[in-house]
């Protein structure tokens, strides 16, 4: 999955599931007041479901959830880690 694809899906989750539309991928979701605690938990749920990953909130830096860019980078790391564990056929 490409970085553009991940970013696109993150923006889609924010728009379609959380009704959050952002001017760009570097807007701070928290500082702008776009994301509250309920929205944050929903975002985690939707990311896990859409990308088939599990986010261990105890181990991540929550600053990774501030922008579409940082969220996408975090998801790509999770996907890379998961793919690395899958033996090549």
């Amino acid at each position: 999955m490409t970085g553009d694809s991940v970013r696109g899906q993150v923006r889609s989750i924010l728009k379609d599931e959380l009704q959050i539309e952002l001017p760009d991928t570097t807007t701070d979701l928290l500082d702008s007041g776009s994301l509250d605690s309920l929205g944050f938990v929903e975002l985690v749920f939707h990311i896990e479901k859409r990308f088939g990953v599990t986010i261990d909130l105890a181990s991540v830096d929550l600053d990774d959830f501030r922008t579409v860019e940082s969220i996408s980078a975090g998801i790509e790391r999770l996907l890379d880690g998961r793919n690395a564990e899958t033996p090549a056929r």
């Binding site: 928290l30 605690s37 309920l38 938990v41 929903e42 261990d56 105890a58």
Partner: protein, 325 residues
């Protein structure tokens, strides 16, 4: 199945969505958040967008609401993180029953803010419970329960999210069984001799850091209060240094022994400021001060002394170095 929800918070929103996705008929959602057109999504907003009726959460306190439940043909009332005490007549009204999703492993950790209490107490395992509702809070027979590990980096936010995630799955399980045969819904009586009830307004150590405790105890208290970047139910634990009130937002026990008096500010490094606990240094990484969250490096200096309920007299300058983890 005709389902009535009393729902708040993220778990409530997710539970409502899960019920709709599963094809159940949601009669209405009782919630305390008023409908609005704002971008933020309280449960009422989620329910409205799904085309569901939104009713005031306080209806559950009224005995006459039981008649409406009966006339609507409600099979199950699901209470998800709503804190209203449901009237006994209302509890008896749904055809199958009323169920509560409690973010905790009953009978232990009944009541409020139990996620934070579990971290504060250093529990290695926590859980979520769906139980039949009785008039007394969190006492009903258990229908479903799941347990999961608590990591040594867990915060209030991370553990609450784990509970919400696990709890919604339990509700899905309940609804699936209820759809086919409600008589098969389990009902395991709780051993109430094992129950601890945590009441509203009860905060460990009156919300203040006690530097005379062990470093890991100080760290656990800070993590229990940590819902960052969002508002914590308890707020950050407070500490006073040279007349200034500081909230300890993030801190880690370093495991490095120290012999400085408890509360003494030790080495100041980029990653944070060391403060002496009873047995080891605690690295304080983020603090709330003067209306903002910032690094303690901005204003703490080695040799300063945090007040502690069990410390007598001032402290000498700190000695020793603090190696990075």
């Amino acid at each position: 199945m005709r389902i009535l929800f009393a729902a708040e918070e993220a778990a409530g929103a997710q539970a409502v969505k899960a019920a709709v996705r599963s094809g159940h008929e949601v009669v209405a959602v009782l919630t305390g958040s008023p409908p609005n057109d704002q971008q933020l999504a309280p449960v009422s907003g989620v329910a409205s967008r799904l085309g569901l009726q939104v009713w005031p959460a306080g209806l559950v306190k009224q005995p006459e609401f039981a008649d409406r439940i009966s006339s609507e043909g409600v099979d199950i009332l699901l209470n998800v993180h709503s804190l209203y005490i449901i009237d006994e007549a209302v509890l008896r009204a749904p055809a199958t029953g009323c169920f509560n999703l409690h973010p905790g492993p009953l009978p232990r950790y009944a009541g409020l803010n139990t996620v934070s209490w579990a971290i504060y107490n250093g529990d290695a395992e926590y859980g979520a419970t769906v139980h039949w509702m009785e008039p007394r809070v969190d006492t009903g027979a258990i229908a479903y329960q799941t347990l999961f590990p608590v990591s040594d980096h867990e915060t209030g936010l991370s553990l609450s999210t784990k509970c919400a995630r696990a709890g919604v799955r339990l509700l899905e399980q309940l609804l699936e069984v209820a759809r086919h045969d409600p008589a098969r819904i389990p009902a395991k009586q709780q051993d109430l001799s094992q129950r601890t009830l945590f009441l509203r307004g009860r905060i460990p150590q009156h919300g203040r850091v006690d530097w005379t405790r062990s470093a890991i105890e100080v760290e656990r208290f800070v993590r229990a209060c940590d819902y960052g970047p969002f508002t914590s139910p308890w707020g950050p634990p407070l500490a006073e240094v040279e007349g200034r009130q500081v909230g300890i937002v993030r801190a880690r026990a370093t495991g490095q022994p120290c012999d400085a008096p408890s509360g003494t500010v030790g080495p100041v490094e980029d990653a944070g400021v060391a403060v002496a606990a009873a047995d080891a240094w605690v690295r304080v990484e983020r603090v709330a001060y003067d209306g903002r969250v910032t690094s303690p490096v901005e204003f703490l200096r080695s040799g300063q002394q945090f007040a502690s309920p069990h410390v007598e007299g001032g402290g000498a300058g700190a000695s020793g170095t603090l190696a990075s983890r």
